[in-house]
Amino acid sequence: MMGVVARTMPNRDVLDVLCPMHLRIDARGLIIGAGPTIQKLRPDDPLEGRAFLDVFRVSRPRGILTIDNLWKARDIKLHLSMVGAPPAQLKGVMVADAQGGAIVNLSFGISILQAVSDYALTNADFAATDLAIEMLYLVEAKSAAMEASRKLNLRLQGAKIAAEVQAFTDTLTGLGNRRALDQTLERMITSGAAFAVMHIDLDYFKTVNDTLGHAAGDHVLQVVARAMVEETRASDTVARVGGDEFTVILPDVRNIDVLERVGQRIIDRIEVPIPFNGTDCTISASIGTVWMQASSAITRELVLEHADIALYASKHKGRACQTFYSPDLRESANSGTPPSGREGRKV
């Protein structure tokens, strides 16, 4: 008889080792034995002698409120929560024993992360075969690896932004370059709003370079770049698109007088002699300007071509002036004579 009992009902010591979160309940649903770990969850509150359904709420399957319901839920997965604080979400399974009662084995499932800190659990609280410790190890190791990857991603993103900025910047003047100009212009055209483009070519710059050297030329370009930024609004884009060629994109331009004034200011500023090593570098600027009305269909290439034609006309008129593009300029550009010495005359 004892042999039969021992086979069908493992003794308490065996269960404590194999299933430290087990409970034994009798036919009335009273807890008559609790494994050491499940008892550790409520250290001041002995589980033995209490009704199972008073201590545990079965959340799935639903509707298990009486002991008779509970018996029907044998051998299937149960989702339970333990009454009291701190709350514990548990998974379990119940099997009938030989005495008309049952053994319920419980586990934390995914709430293990919370449980180990809530109840200060240690390796000794888990069965030797339980994967809980391995799961905790993995979560911690994977999180550390993920954090390292996240930091790398942030650094790479920062480097990417810096590289992009560099790719769109003219290193000598700090202005945007041709790539920046193309991008901004494309955006303006797509938006369909009114905007203007000024193509600015320095007059007599080649003379500075030839007579005073490249250092003087570089200095002049930097001073001129600063002047253009100062004479335009923050929302305007100033780009250096060639050796001594600049382009300004001006969004939201409502009338041509504004463009007249901005262009004149830029020319006036550029004509201020720039001292370099005791010598004044005197240059000027010719400007070709296109004023695009809102939602006019046009391509980037065409806008720049129009600005170029207008610039050509300014050069033709004797430099140091601004010309606005109009279709008739195109004809005179095609038939006209080239301006004398585009690269400038000697000072």
Binding site: S117, L121, Y137, E140, A141, K142, A145, R155
Partner: protein
């Protein structure tokens, strides 16, 4: 070689001797890599070159530098994660020693392309062990000695360690566990990381 290994070597140098010492060493070994990224892979030749340069800068033999790195890995606050992950290996120092065989597999479970040197624990009579290390990095056994010394303290065990030499690219560390519960050791709270 995995960036985690190179980055650990870098962190050891900067945390212990400062950024200048690191830059000095790395400039000798790999001028174009002042910093290693933990989650990238690098050429296998870099680690030995960097370790040699570090030895030169610090004027210390490789074996001492390696043992110091081992100590650093499991005792410095910046590398607490390593100590914690190792402590998952066992409840006491003996348990921990037996878990070392699994260390490369455990590491790969976390970071699939991280290949740690193969290590193998042999148990002789009571309390006597040999740890066989098979690593492409020479003097890796010394690094393990540094790790084991700190971990013994961590578990509160008293152990004697000895580098028992190289044979055919393998190194042997002999371990004599004198007392398992010699001191209190440091606490290890399973949930400390999550909370």
């Amino acid at each position: 070689m995995h960036g985690l290994i190179l980055r650990s070597i870098q962190n050891y140098m900067t945390d212990s001797y400062g950024r200048t010492a690191w830059l000095q060493a790395v400039a000798q070994a790999v001028p174009d890599h002042p910093d290693f990224e933990a989650m990238l892979s690098y050429n296998d030749t870099l680690a030995p070159a960097v370790l040699d340069a570090m030895g030169a800068v610090l004027n210390r033999p490789r074996s001492e530098v390696m043992e110091d790195i081992g100590t650093y890995l499991v005792s410095h606050p910046n590398t607490e994660a390593v100590r914690r992950l190792l402590r998952f290996g066992g409840m006491n120092f003996e348990d921990f020693l037996h878990s070392l065989d699994d260390m490369p597999d455990r590491a790969r479970m976390a970071v699939s392309d991280l290949h740690l040197p193969a290590i193998e624990l042999h148990e002789h009579d009571e309390g006597r062990y040999s740890l066989i290390c098979d690593s492409p990095l020479s003097d890796f056994g010394y690094l393990m000695m540094g790790v084991l010394r700190v971990m013994a303290d961590d578990y509160g065990a008293l152990a004697m360690l000895d580098h028992a030499g190289h044979t055919g690219g393998r190194e042997t560390v002999s371990i004599q566990l004198i007392e398992r519960d010699y001191a209190d050791g440091r606490s290890f709270n399973l949930g400390a990381w999550a909370s």
